[in-house]
Symmetry: C2
Amino acid sequence: MPRLPFDPIAEAQRKWVEHGWTDASDGMAAVTSVMRAHQIVINRVDDVLRAFGLTFARYELLMLLHFSSRGSMPVKKASARLQVHSTSVTSAVDRLERDGLVRRVPNPTDGRGVLVELTDDGRALALRATEALNSEVFAVPPVPRERLGALLDALREMRREAGDFA
Amino acid sequence: MPRLPFDPIAEAQRKWVEHGWTDASDGMAAVTSVMRAHQIVINRVDDVLRAFGLTFARYELLMLLHFSSRGSMPVKKASARLQVHSTSVTSAVDRLERDGLVRRVPNPTDGRGVLVELTDDGRALALRATEALNSEVFAVPPVPRERLGALLDALREMRREAGDFA
DNA sequence: TCACGGTAGGTGGACGTCCACCTAAAGTCA
DNA sequence: TGACTTTAGGTGGACGTCCACCTACCGTGA
């Protein structure tokens, strides 16, 4: 990826103001910046997880199961906690099951549902991946430490306003 | 999507600290927050663009061409400006061309390349979509106005450190 | 008890992103 | 000038996300 001689988002913002869309220019910049930030962090994370045959989506599901009291939960509950559609969880479970990291078991209390259950291999891999992620990515945040608080605060507000949590 | 009674990212952060991964907990929260923020903003944007048969990726390409002096540019240049792989641009061009919003023309100065050229329909649609996006999304940023500056600053730092621009 | 609306989960498909690989045309350098 | 390297762009495929639709089961109310 080439390094540009200028900030492309600042450039777009300039165009917005030029066209008289000043009151929308910050919002445009915010949306575009979040898009690019997502790309940056997911690439950093997936670079590390590739060595473990994982992606961030699948890693998150493994850790959610790891932290759950029984090591298993219904697809629906995982979907709510990870805040993605059930079908995204289904897709992750398919691949994790293929690799022997989780298994599907019938839900004893609901004949419609299945429980996704962490296997021993899955738990071990999740912990090894966490060690790598912690040291190679999370301990070296993608933003200077002194800005991290403001970033987390702003994004928490965004998530709250989007109705993620009470 | 159900509203959770608690912030799932704060909950994950608590688990991280419990496990002694304190120095990585903020980074983990930052990465996860950016992921979720991306989902929130892209859903808001695509909700509006759906009425125009567009997605944000294709909209961005249309606007890039609209702002360019000739209304056309090589795939490679669009890829650098949008900061996505060339193949992502190829894919967007395929769909925009299918819908008559851009056309591919041979690059007169490079026999290997093609120029992506905005059609009149493409330009008109981009402007109508911009009107809708400005009023329905960008003018109502996904974060309180008073936090917007801090968010933009933090994300600009992230992009700079990732090597996006000088 | 039983009919019916609601819910859990899966399927198939569209889309954007990336990667590995390919072809053809430039560019380079002896 | 000619052989080698680099570059532009496309293909095919993996993956995650969403949506529309489907099936099977649950729970509720008459």
